[in-house]
Amino acid sequence: MSNWMDIAALNDVPRRGARVVRTAQGCVAVFRTAEDDVYALDNSCPHKGGPLSEGIVHGASVTCPLHNWVFSLDTGEAQGADSGRVRTYPARVENGRILLDKVVIAARTPA
């Protein structure tokens, strides 16, 4: 049985942009890159909680809107001199729809 859950159409998220998915344990940010890859991360910056979904997306990275830390969308790891990590979740696109893993999302613990 697959645990993939249909979330929304890929086109509901702008290229080089993000939207949030609300869950009981806070928001998950769903990012879409210029090349239509999709990533899901906690929407909270490990620095001071900045909403990563509001950041500028470039390549497979996002820059936090509050103090410009840059995170890899793939690993959640802070880039450059900063250190810290954001939780990432499996995400994929099929037939133009964004899918997230139900079980993994449900198993999140409050950040």
Binding site: R19, T33, P51, G55, E77
Partner: protein, 809 residues
């Protein structure tokens, strides 16, 4: 005993299978070949050269009637198979003939997908698949118009072929760049440029709405935005679907295509399938390379030999003369993946390799694809490239060779290319000055005046020096915009203007960006430069803006936002104040504060509530105050002649007029104005970016003030007699600032670079033209973004999905 083999479809795949079968065992089967097209197998992919006039049909015919006869193949061309009875192992032809088979092979190819737009069944709406379609297009010539829907491989080949015949062709493509499945944006940009040079009109990000006809014939394509594109022929090239109808009716297992196993056998052991009609291991196929592999496997299977079809890496090329492009593998970004990008703007070359664990997994190339096979080999063979990593991108010939010369672009400019726009100095004049002994920037400035005015061409002049003098001139290291580029802000702005770069991919390519799509430092700057220089051509990119400007509200430290409506010139009314109070109550705004800019800030509004609170404020006649923008902020005023016993002019009235004309304008940094009614200066006009002090004889205008991290007093620009003149001067100086300053320089910083004299002179001599360009830009940008977002983007402020309940399950 020979068995009976019936083949459905004389296409490229079955043609190859037939050859393989006859080569190995010419008498194993008695073959009957049906084809819906009234001819045998031809090289379908060469239809494009036929269309372009480079080849004739005779040259692309793979199997002639004589060939079929020699090989004992019974041909039934122009006849379809109508149905199949698997029970009795017979097929029924279109004319009712029933023929028995021992083995049956499908090769029905695909059918072009036709978007079901109103009017798609009009006469003159065609696909691009076979010789008939090609001949229809070949019937057009100079004076005819054609619209092609679809900017993929087929659509572009069709467009280029017709353009070569003098047809007026427009390509309408729904995505943001051409061939988006094979190319990234940068390569897509170069391709577009090459096609536009061939006279083809290209419209990307464009939706079609309806095909319009007259007397049953196509007459025009109507776009979403209301534009009509007249045409005599409309070609739809938006994709193909495996042709599975017959197989499905016969009860074979089909998904997107006819299911086959590794031996090309369908769910019925006596029926095989090859080509675009099949689905193997979840994949379907649209290029011939894998079909040929399938054909060989199918032939072996028919002969009872063992063979297995294996999917391989594929590559794409476009068959349009002068457009050399190549793409293969996976070129999306990802962790652990590294981009190696090489751009040679002078020669229009772009290459990008995606490397993962020292293995090349994807490649996109434009301009020079001579090495594409070598790169494709690296991808296919998963070659470890650790040893040649540094020079890899230059291709096989350059292994260990010299790195790219960064001055190539400047060196390639012609002698009459203009270098200094202010003083009209071209490259030749500078070279002459260098030959006459000028060896550094100061000497060039002194002898030619190049870069002696606004200074934005300084970098270019230095590059001419470096290109001309070689090692005798050491380039001073100017700080580049960011790590994505070696160019300074000034260089990039100059390139945008002089090379008419009107899109971000164009800038990335022509200015040699080292990353695929910039970063959070350069993208906002480029977005500003492009919209300021090309207000009509360039479309503002919200994704390249900092969140405050993307969501038209200032983000707070807890992720909420502040909302500041305009109070024109600091004037409000009881009605507005009530609406603000109501909104504060309704949305439980935690803090309401009077700002330093003479208006009211509602702090702590939730992101999702923004459109709703804006709608309420809009309803009371208020618009966005742009308190978040690198753009016009406030025009602070004092009470002036309306009430004050010292007032000399209507400072409040002028402030309101200024705010109304300038509002919505994007500027390199924020722009604040003040208008005081007399030299007592209660509006603090002399510490604003632009200040006006009213006096009895008119209006003193001064610029370059600030009271932030630096405190600066404004410097006197001019004095004028009337309000109209004051507004004109302020518009002109604002536009000069917009066109010339580097991103994030406020007026005082820009002024310290170009000098007040230069500004004064420009504003005097070019006032009318500056105002005209300002108004042109304002025709697009002078609007209320709140209202626009409430109307069009409401949903984007809401969560994508709410799983609060889901997770609780």
């Amino acid at each position: 005993m020979t068995q009976k083999l019936i083949i459905i479809g004389a296409g490229m795949a079955t043609g190859r299978a037939l050859e393989a079968l006859l080569d190995t065992a010419s008498d194993a089967y008695e073959v009957t070949l049906f084809n819906a097209e009234p001819r045998g197998n031809y090289n379908r992919i060469m239809l494009s050269p036929v269309l372009a006039g480079d080849k004739t049909y005779a040259e692309i015919e793979t199997h002639t009637l004589a060939w079929y006869e020699e090989n004992g193949v019974t041909c039934r061309f122009g006849e379809r198979i109508a149905s199949i009875d698997r029970e009795s192992k017979t097929v029924t032809a279109q004319n009712g003939d029933v023929l028995p088979y021992d083995k049956l092979m499908f090769g029905t190819g695909s059918t072009p997908f036709m978007i079901p737009l109103p009017g798609h069944d009009l006469e003159g709406v065609i696909a691009y698949r076979d010789l008939e379609d090609t001949e229809r297009m070949m019937g057009l010539g100079p004076g005819d118009k054609c619209v092609v829907i679809g900017g993929g491989l087929l659509g572009l080949e069709a467009a280029a072929g017709m353009a070569a015949r003098g047809v007026d062709v427009t390509v309408v493509h729904i995505m943001g760049h051409l061939m988006e499945r094979q190319l990234d944006e940068a390569a897509g940009y170069l391709l577009r440029k090459a096609l536009v040079d061939k006279g083809i009109k290209i419209r990307c990000s464009t939706n079609s709405k309806e095909i319009l006809g007259a007397e049953g014939r196509v007459r025009a394509l109507l776009l979403d935005d209301g534009t009509e594109l007249p045409c005599d022929l409309l070609v739809m090239a938006v994709g193909i679907r495996p042709n599975v109808a017959l197989a499905a009716e016969a009860g074979l297992a089909v998904g997107r295509g006819i299911h086959v196993d590794d031996r090309m056998v369908t769910s019925d052991a006596d029926i095989l399938a090859v080509g675009e009609c099949v689905e193997h291991d979840g994949a379907i196929f649209g290029l011939v390379a894998p079909l040929y592999d399938q054909a060989k496997v199918a032939a072996k299977t028919l002969l009872g030999e063992d063979a297995v079809f294996v999917q391989k890496e594929l590559s794409t090329k476009l068959k349009v003369t002068g457009c050399d492009l190549f793409s293969a593998g996976d070129f999306t970004d990802g962790e652990g993946r590294e981009d190696i990008v090489f751009r040679d703007p002078a020669r229009g070359i772009y290459r990008r390799l995606v490397v993962e664990n020292n293995i090349v997994i994807g490649a996109v190339m434009y301009g020079d694809t001579a090495d594409s096979n070598w790169f494709f080999g690296l991808i296919r063979d998963r070659t470890d490239i650790a040893g040649m990593r540094d020079t890899l991108i230059f291709g096989p010939a350059y292994q260990g060779g010299a790195p790219l010369d960064p001055l190539a672009a400047v060196a390639a400019l012609s002698r009459d290319a203009e270098i200094c726009g202010c003083n009209g100095i071209c490259k030749g004049r500078i070279e002459d000055a260098i030959a006459a002994g000028a060896g550094d920037l100061a000497a060039i400035k002194a002898t030619t005046k190049a870069s002696a005015s606004c200074g934005t061409c300084t970098g270019l002049v230095e590059q001419v020096l470096a290109a001309t003098l070689g090692e005798d001139f050491v380039l001073p290291a100017a700080a580049p915009i960011c790590g994505c580029s070696d160019m300074t802000h000034e260089d990039v702005r100059r390139m945008i203007k002089s090379q008419r770069l009107t899109s971000m991919p164009a800038v990335w390519q022509e200015c040699g960006w080292k990353t695929s799509c910039g970063c959070h430092v350069c993208r906002p700057a480029l977005n500003y430069y492009l919209l300021a220089d090309w207000p009509l051509e360039y479309q503002d990119d919200p994704q390249s803006r900092f969140i405050n400007e993307r969501k038209h509200a200032n983000i707070q430290k807890d992720g909420t936002f502040s909302v500041v409506p305009r109070m024109w010139g600091g004037i409000t009314t009881p009605h507005e104040l009530r609406a603000i109070a109501d909104a504060a109550d309704k949305f439980a705004v935690p803090t309401v504060k009077v700002t330093g800019g003479q208006r009211i800030d509602l702090l702590g509004v939730r992101g999702e509530d923004l459109p709703a609170i804006w709608a309420d404020l809009n309803a009371a006649g208020m618009v966005s105050g742009y308190a978040y923008s690198k753009g016009l902020r406030t025009v602070k005023t004092c009470v002036g002649t309306d009430h004050c016993r010292f007032g000399t002019q209507d400072s409040t009235g002028l402030g309101i007029k200024l705010e109304k004309t300038l509002h919505g304008a994007w500027t390199p940094h924020k722009l604040k104005l003040g208008v005081s009614g007399c030299p007592r200066n209660c509006a603090e006009a002399t510490c604003k970016d632009i200040g006006v002090i009213c006096v009895d004889s008119g209006y003193q205008i001064s610029i370059g003030g600030a009271a932030g991290m630096d405190v600066k007093e404004t410097e006197h620009l001019t004095q004028v007699a009337t309000e109209e003149e004051a507004i004109a001067v302020i518009k002109a100086v604002t536009q000069l600032y917009r066109e010339n300053a580097r991103y994030l320089d406020r007026i005082y910083k820009w002024m310290s670079k170009v000098g007040l004299d230069w500004i004064t002179e420009r504003v005097e001599t070019e006032q009318a033209a500056l105002i005209e360009r300002f108004e042109l830009s304002q025709s697009i940008y002078r609007h209320d973004p709140w209202a626009a977002h409430v109307a069009q983007k409401y949903d984007s402020y809401q969560p994508l999905a709410n799983l609060v309940l889901e997770a609780a399950e």
